[in-house]
Symmetry: C2
Subunit: 225 residues, 2 copies
DNA sequence: CCAAAAGTGTTGTTTATACACCCATGT
DNA sequence: ACATGGGTGTATAAACAACACTTTTGG
């Protein structure tokens, strides 16, 4: 079959979703990129994503594409912004509904690269050139992430089930790219009543063991303040 | 010509923009609705909006549709959210990129209703049934508006060039649906250094005249706090 | 002189910031 | 014993919340 069989009375743009998937590895904010197999930008790096199926919701499309390209599922996903400049894709008019997603550092193993997809993590401050307007999408996602740190419980999406307060503080410091006072951070987080000591400890190196905490309402991202 | 002449290799959804246009009239938060001339929901009320042209940016589409249907232009417009449930339009798959907009109370006169469009203002708390998922869009726009009052200068978009502090307080009170303390409000707004006395006064009734202020950086909506 | 909205300060409470030492462990 | 990260309190400053009376005008 080589005829264009989907026909309309008026011109229609294509609709895709693109996903900015963040994690924290090696004390750095990183995000996931896919190497493009086809033109345009063939061989270049781009955000995971792809075309919307006619019977699926937008967020389902983002989840499906992410799983297809990386094997990752069941993560926190939120709509970011819709990018629709007339010339953002050289092939045809494409509207991209961008999502951003967060994944805990203990869940970041990708499925082995197949013929179809090569995926890799990149430090946010050392990104390669990106295809299309994906650099702009990444910037916007980062802005949103930084903003949400302050007034929501989004940071917990980066954490494993159990974590120490120092590890949590590290997440805030890494994303905000600034050092925080240990006592003030602990007061702040404990006053908000979001975490609870498990009674367990982590023995790590040649120093006092740290208490392990867990997030009281896992899964849900709430507005705090 | 009665053939569907726009053909693609893969199915494409239609893309529209819808606009939630708020204003303040008669001490109430109001928004603009259009009466639908065609099925589905013929004769019902819906948000202004319409299909994206292939060569225009999303925000331009929103502006154009708003102007076509109401004559209103040059207003504050911001992308809200993209709605894309598979069944939100009974005719075909439609992705709606929703925008919200604010207009000052002294600029709300609509162009006379033409054959093509009947538009009217409705109080936010007395809306009629809305077509499609427009009720959901309106709710989300309202949420955003209320949130942005606190941490941005969005409220000034409702104000005429010159206004009294009592009028400004009224805007905050109306949108937040709660009374504010006069002294604390004035301290708060003046501490932020956003307004400036013009030296003029408004003589209104049989009481002390009020100073007129103006917004120092009109046009721009900034994040405060 | 009366009614009506404009205008103005102080006090107590909560929240944020700055800052330094002791504790428990492994080697 | 020492190096390492874990854990804790206090004092100051800033922001916010509660609260009532005087001023100026028009009729």
């Amino acid at each position: 079959m080589n005829t264009k069989q989907f026909c309309y009375w008026h011109p229609h743009p294509a609709v895709t979703t693109d996903i900015v998937l963040f994690t924290l590895r090696a004390e750095k904010l990183q995000l996931l990129l896919i190497r493009r197999r086809n033109p345009p930008f063939q061989g270049g790096w781009a955000l995971p994503g792809g075309f919307l199926d006619m019977d699926e919701d937008l967020a389902d499309c983002a989840k499906r594409e992410l799983e297809e390209e990386t094997g990752i599922k069941n993560i926190y996903l939120e709509q970011l912004y819709t990018f629709g400049k007339a010339k953002r894709d050289p092939r045809e008019r494409v509207i991209s509904v961008a999502y951003y997603a967060l994944i805990a550092s203990d869940r970041i193993t990708l499925k082995p690269a197949s013929d179809a997809t090569e995926a890799a993590w990149f430090a946010f401050d050392e990104l390669p050139e990106l295809a299309f307007d994906h650099r702009e999408i990444v910037e916007k996602a980062h802005e949103r992430l930084v903003a949400k740190l302050d007034y929501s419980t989004i940071a917990f999406q980066f954490m494993p089930k159990q974590f120490t307060l120092s590890e949590l503080q590290n997440v805030y410091e890494t994303i905000r790219a600034e050092a925080l006072d240990k006592r003030n951070f602990r007061k702040w987080i404990l006053a908000r009543n979001l975490v609870e000591a498990t009674g367990l400890e982590r023995r790590n190196g040649s120093h006092r063991p740290a208490q392990l905490f867990h997030f009281k309402r896992p899964g849900r991202v709430e507005i705090i303040r």
